[in-house]
C-alpha cells in the first residue's frame, strides 16, 4: 500500500477504465438449501443472491445498498469465501478464488479485511485492544519479533485516532465509536487492498457516525490503493462514501450508478421509492418532495415472484414484468438499470 499525499483523482474513475480490477464478481448465486424431514432432504432453496455481477476498481468505493434480506451481506460473505457460492465466480486481484482450497485461500485473505456492523459482538471481550488489533499480524505471521508487532499495533492505533497507551484496555472500556475504530485498525493491520465494511456505522449514534465515516474516507485518501465495498441500508451514508453505488433488491442488483447520478436521476422504480423513503433533515425540502410509498413487504427469497422480483410492488409494472426477468443494461455511461420499462434513449422512440 503506497502512501501518497493529496487527494485522489475522482474524475479519472469515470473515464473508460483501463486499470486493474481489485474484485470481480460474475453472476454470483448463493442458495441456501432448506432441509426437511428425517433424511434432511432438500425441499427448496433460499435464493439469497441470484445472479449478481459487480466490479470494484483499485482505489474505488463501491456502495452496496438495499433493505434487510436483499442479499448484501451474503454477497460480502461470499467474497471473503465464508460462504461457498452456488454458482458464479469471484475474482480477486486477478485470481479466481471461487474454488480455492482453504490452504491457498489464506494468503488471499490477508489482502481482504472485514469491518463488522456490531462493535460489541465483533470484538473478543477477553482480549485487550492491542491483542485484537495485532491478531491478523499473528495469524499471517507478518512480523518475526514481538517488538515489531507492538510497533505496528501502536502505529495502527494512531492511524485510527486511538491513543496507543489505551492498547491494554479491554473492549468494554471503550465507547461504541472507539470500538468501531478498533475494528478498523484490525482490518488495516495487514495492508489489505480491499476492505468490506458491512454496515460499519449503523449501530452508532449520529454524532459518532460522522466521526467514523470521516475516518473511513480519510483512510481511503491516505492509502491510495485501498478499495472498499461499503454495505449499508442508509442511502444517505452510502451516497456520502461511495464512488459508485449498486442498489440491491431480493438477491439482484437493480441499478448501478455514480452517487450523484443515482440520486438526481434514479431510473429503477425501486431506487425511486427507496430515495423518496429517506427523509431529508430539512422541513422546507420535505414540503416539496414527492413521496412514493410502496405497498406490501419484500417477498420471501424462498419463493420469489416470477419475472422481475419487484413487479408485485412496482407502481409502473405491466403484465410483461411478471414473465421477463430484466437484466442490467447500460442506459448511460456508468449507469445501468435492470428494468424493462427503462430502455436505452435510442430505443425509446421505436
Amino acid at each position: 500500500m503506497k502512501k501518497r499525499p493529496g487527494h485522489r483523482h475522482h474524475e479519472a474513475l469515470h473515464d473508460a477504465y483501463t486499470g486493474d480490477w481489485v474484485l470481480e464478481v460474475r453472476d454470483l448465486k448463493v442458495y441456501f438449501p432448506v432441509l426437511r424431514g428425517l433424511l434432511l432432504r432438500k425441499v427448496a432453496d433460499i435464493k439469497a443472491v441470484d445472479g449478481v455481477s459487480l466490479r470494484v476498481r483499485r482505489g474505488e468505493v463501491l456502495g452496496l445498498v438495499g433493505e434487510s434480506g436483499c442479499g448484501k451481506t451474503t454477497v460480502a460473505r461470499s467474497i471473503i469465501r465464508v460462504y461457498r457460492p452456488t454458482a458464479g465466480r469471484v475474482i480477486f486481484e486477478g485470481t479466481d478464488i471461487t474454488d480455492l482450497p482453504e490452504r491457498k485461500l489464506k494468503p488471499v485473505r490477508r489482502k481482504m479485511a472485514y469491518i463488522f456492523q456490531d462493535p460489541y459482538g465483533s470484538l473478543d471481550p477477553r482480549q485487550s485492544a492491542a491483542s485484537i488489533i495485532g491478531e491478523p499480524l499473528v495469524a499471517h505471521k507478518v512480523f518475526k519479533s514481538k517488538q515489531e508487532r507492538r510497533a505496528r499495533v501502536d502505529e495502527l492505533m494512531g492511524i485510527v485516532g486511538l491513543d496507543p497507551c489505551m492498547g491494554g484496555r479491554f473492549p468494554h472500556e471503550f465507547s461504541g465509536g472507539q470500538r468501531q475504530r478498533i475494528g478498523i485498525a484490525r482490518a488495516l493491520a495487514c495492508n489489505p487492498s480491499l476492505i468490506i465494511c458491512d454496515e460499519p456505522v449503523s449501530a452508532l449514534d449520529v454524532s459518532i457516525q460522522a466521526q467514523v465515516i470521516n475516518l473511513l474516507k480519510a483512510l481511503q485518501k491516505e492509502f491510495v490503493d485501498l478499495s472498499y465495498v461499503f454495505i449499508a441500508h442508509d442511502l444517505a451514508v452510502v451516497k456520502h462514501v461511495s464512488d459508485r453505488i449498486a442498489v440491491m433488491y431480493l438477491g439482484h442488483v437493480v441499478e448501478t450508478a455514480t452517487p450523484g447520478e443515482l440520486c438526481d436521476n434514479p431510473r429503477h422504480p425501486y431506487t425511486k421509492a427507496l430515495l423518496s423513503a429517506v427523509p431529508v433533515p430539512d422541513p422546507f425540502v420535505e414540503e416539496t418532495r414527492e413521496r412514493i410509498v410502496l405497498t406490501g413487504e419484500v417477498p420471501s427469497p424462498l419463493n420469489p415472484p416470477s419475472g422481475c422480483t419487484f413487479h408485485q410492488r412496482c407502481p409502473v409494472a405491466v403484465p410483461e414484468c411478471s414473465r421477463v426477468s430484466p437484466v442490467l443494461k447500460e442506459i448511460d455511461p456508468n449507469h445501468q438499470v435492470a428494468c424493462i420499462m427503462v430502455e436505452r434513449p435510442d430505443e425509446r422512440s421505436t
Partner: protein, 329 residues
C-alpha cells in the same frame, strides 16, 4: 389550541452503583391537542426516560424526584404509579408504541388476544365485540386477511407487521395522546416510510396528539410541527420545526445538523463531526454539559452554571450563553 399535556420541571433519577444518574433533569415541555411534536437526541440523552416518566413506568432504582405531569388538567404525579387512576389512563388515554416490536409484544399470546385484552379492560367490550373490533383495527393498519391473522403469534409476523400490530393496539382505545418511542428505528426505510405515513393518517383520523421520540432528524423534519432537542438529560433547544432547522441556535443542534449525511447533499460535502463523546450522566459538571464538545464556548461557559432555557425568538428557546447565529439556507 388547548394544551393536552404539560410537563413541568420533571426530574427522574436512577440510583446505581456508579452514583446518581440524572437521566431527566428539569425538563419542561407541552403538547397541544392534535399536535405532532418530535423529541430528538442521541442514546442516553433522556428522551425515552422522559416519556416513560409521563406514563409513570419508572421502576426502581429509578425515581421521579420532582415535577408535574399535567394531563387534561390533572397532575398525574398525585396518583399512585400502579393505582387505578393511572391504570385507567395508561393504554386508554395515553398509549405508547415502543421501538422493538418483538420484545414489547408478548410471545406466548396471540396478536388477537393482546388486542382484545386492552379493549375488554378499558372499553368493557364483550368477547365477540372485542374480536370484531380487533379485526377492524388490524385491517385499518394494513394487515391483509385480518380475521385469520388474529390467531397468529408475534413470531409469525414480520418486523413491519409487528409494528403495525403495535400501532393498532396503541390506537385501540382512541387515546388522546400517542407516544411513539423510536417507532421505526429497527425497520427498513421503505417500511419506515409506510408506517410513519400510516401513523400520521391515523392520529389525524382519531384526533390524537403524537410525540415522536427519535434520533432521526429526517423523520422529525418530515412529520413534526414542533421539536425539542435533548442533550444529557435536559432540553437544550425547542421551537417550531422550521425555526430549528432553518436557524438553529444551540451549538449541539447545529452540530447534529452538520454531521448527518443527507440524500440531497452535493458531492464532496464534508461531514463536520461533533468531536468527543456524550458525557457520563453520573458525573455531569455544573456547567453546560456540551461544553467539552462545543466549538463556540466562551469563558463565561466555563465558570457559570448551565443557563436556563431562554427565548431567542417567539416560541424558540435555547439553553446557551453564546447563541451563535444560526446557519442560513
Amino acid at each position: 389550541m388547548a394544551i393536552l399535556l404539560e410537563v413541568r420541571n420533571l426530574r427522574t433519577q436512577f440510583l446505581t452503583d456508579d452514583g446518581l444518574i440524572k437521566a431527566v433533569d428539569d425538563v419542561s415541555y407541552h403538547i397541544d391537542e392534535k399536535e405532532i411534536i418530535g423529541v430528538v437526541g442521541e442514546s442516553g440523552c433522556g428522551k425515552s426516560v422522559t416519556q416513560l416518566s409521563v406514563m409513570r413506568l419508572i421502576t426502581p432504582p429509578g425515581k421521579i424526584t420532582s415535577g408535574q405531569i399535567i394531563f387534561e388538567g390533572d397532575d398525574l404525579m398525585k396518583y399512585e404509579a400502579n393505582g387505578p387512576e393511572m391504570r385507567s389512563i395508561r393504554g386508554a388515554k395515553i398509549a405508547m408504541i415502543f421501538q422493538e416490536p418483538m420484545t414489547s409484544l408478548n410471545p406466548v399470546l396471540t396478536i388477537g388476544r393482546q388486542l382484545t385484552e386492552t379493549l375488554e379492560l378499558h372499553l368493557k367490550m364483550g368477547k365477540s365485540a372485542a374480536n370484531r373490533r380487533a379485526a377492524e383495527l388490524l385491517d385499518m393498519v394494513g394487515i391483509p386477511c385480518a380475521d385469520t391473522r388474529l390467531g397468529d403469534y408475534p413470531h409469525q409476523f414480520s418486523g413491519g407487521m409487528r409494528q403495525r400490530a403495535m400501532i393498532a393496539m396503541a390506537l385501540s382505545c382512541n387515546p388522546r395522546l400517542v407516544i411513539a418511542d423510536e417507532p421505526t428505528t429497527a425497520l427498513d426505510v421503505t417500511t419506515q416510510a409506510q408506517l410513519l405515513e400510516l401513523m400520521k393518517a391515523l392520529v389525524e383520523e382519531f384526533h390524537s396528539a403524537l410525540v415522536i421520540v427519535t434520533h432521526n432528524l429526517g423523520v422529525v423534519a418530515r412529520y413534526a410541527q414542533r421539536i425539542y432537542i435533548m442533550y444529557a438529560g435536559r432540553i437544550v433547544e425547542s421551537g417550531t420545526c422550521k425555526d430549528i432547522f432553518r436557524s438553529p441556535r444551540h451549538p449541539y443542534t447545529m452540530g447534529l445538523l452538520n454531521c448527518v449525511p443527507r440524500i440531497d447533499d452535493r458531492e464532496g460535502r464534508e461531514l463536520e463531526a461533533i468531536k468527543g463523546l456524550p458525557p457520563n450522566l453520573g458525573r455531569l459538571p455544573g456547567q453546560c454539559a456540551f461544553l467539552p464538545r462545543c466549538e463556540h464556548a466562551v469563558d463565561r461557559c466555563r465558570v457559570e452554571p448551565w443557563p436556563e432555557l431562554q427565548a431567542v425568538a417567539d416560541g424558540h428557546h435555547t439553553r446557551c450563553f453564546v447563541n451563535p447565529p444560526g446557519m442560513t439556507g
